[in-house]
Amino acid sequence: MNYNWDWNIFFKSTGIGSEIYLDWFVSGLGWTIAVALVAWIIALLLGSVLGVMRTLPGKALPAIATGYVELFRNVPLLVQLFMWYFVVPDYLPEPLQTWFKQDLNPATSAYVSVVVCLALFTAARVCEQVRTGIQALPKGQSAAALAVGFSIGQTYRHVLLPQAFRIIIPPLTSEFLNIFKNSSVASLIGLMELLAQTKQTAEFSANIFEAFTLATVIYFVLNMSLMALMNLVEKKVRIPGMMGGAK
């Protein structure tokens, strides 16, 4: 079988308007980043709240957070995405439902579903990291804070969380990278992010290998640069005197 290798394919016209294939990849990458970043911010906030809840004294709050984590960790991401995209909108209250189904254009409603899905999915994982970080701190830290008259809220805000977050940067980094990779499921509900654009390029041009090679390179470079960025952050905020910390 003959396969026509053509690495210039990315600069050729797609036949739609004046676009070249590279434009598709750029816009796909844009969607991927837009999904991942927004979902990450929500996941970080919600996950932190849940992580704190799991370490609080009492029964109800930790139980709620534990239930959340178990639910969102044991259902496949794709099933969760289908729920948010196909099932949940039908049970929204009336004005919201019309807004989601009729006012939003299809790309936006897919975007909203993916962001909600990835945010809640990743929050369960962030929660576990935050909990681990808090529990890794010596008991003396919270005891001392309470002894000098801090309230529980102040103890978390000024003593526990600032330390916990700095310890868990490496595992949080890998969750941060995962959210970029997981955002590729958006292609299955029609959002034209990086993977969907790659598939479309492969189908339009028949240059499968070139298209997927470029996508791989983009994901790889994205991954490496985010990792380098997070290493920088980690160095900056490292706790002096801890293992591997600044002198």
Partner: protein, 221 residues
């Protein structure tokens, strides 16, 4: 909500589940086998071998599984065609299996490597001292201990893989999720079937990870 059609549909859902489990078992076996080879290569004193293994792992860990599945679905038939020179029909199942084995091997490799590195050096030194070769030492002394230590982690990764098999939806393979989607559409109860599928995944994953946690406690020294 009307779940009435689920019971009559169970046989076809079970067909989907059989495919999911088949894929899972083969992918886990292949992934652990390839992952172990990669781990040994990564720890080899041969710089080129360990460099290659490291590159393999980094490569697969930085791209999405869905990308690998989609790519292999398109590429495996073509590559086989080049190698054999004739047209070979490769089903979606085979290309998905290849994708899962190669992708998961990168993750299993890291688990196996950590497991081997947790075995004390005295073990391998003693094995060499009694005259064993490298392969005997690995096969008879190091790997059996390492695998016992890393069983919980391997199982956890397997539970993740079980959930990830649902991604074969992308290439139209009728696994459990896709069977539920298709049946639900035919029966006009797509929401209910999706919820049912989610519940089944939940029960299996949750049950399995609870068992793993108990096993972890029992294995803990």
């Amino acid at each position: 909500m009307d779940f009435s059609q689920i019971i009559p549909s169970l046989p076809s859902l079970w067909d989907g589940m059989k495919l999911t489990l088949q894929l899972l078992v083969l992918a886990v076996a292949g992934g652990i086998a390839l992952g172990t080879v990669l781990a040994l290569a990564r720890m080899s004193s041969n710089a080129m071998l360990s460099g290659l293994a490291k590159a393999y792992v980094n490569y697969f860990r930085s791209i999405p599984l869905l990308l690998v599945i989609t790519w292999f679905y398109l590429a495996v038939p073509m590559i086989l065609n080049w190698i054999t020179g004739e047209f070979v029909a490769v089903g979606a199942f085979t290309s998905c299996l290849v994708a899962f084995v190669m992708f998961e091997a990168a993750y299993y490799c890291e688990i196996v490597r950590a497991g081997i590195q947790s075995i004390s050096k005295g073990q391998i030194n003693a094995a060499y001292a009694v005259g064993m070769t490298y392969s005997q030492a690995m096969r008879l002394i190091i790997l059996p201990q390492a695998f016992r230590k890393m069983t919980p982690l391997l199982l956890q990764q397997t539970i993740i893989l079980f959930q990830d098999t649902s991604l074969v939806y992308a290439v139209g393979l009728i696994d459990f999720l896709n069977a539920a989607r298709a049946r639900g559409d035919i029966m006009g109860q797509s929401h209910e079937f999706l919820i049912f599928a989610g519940a089944v995944y939940f029960v299996i994953s949750f049950g399995a990870s609870s068992l793993v946690k108990r096993l972890q406690k029992r294995l803990a020294v």
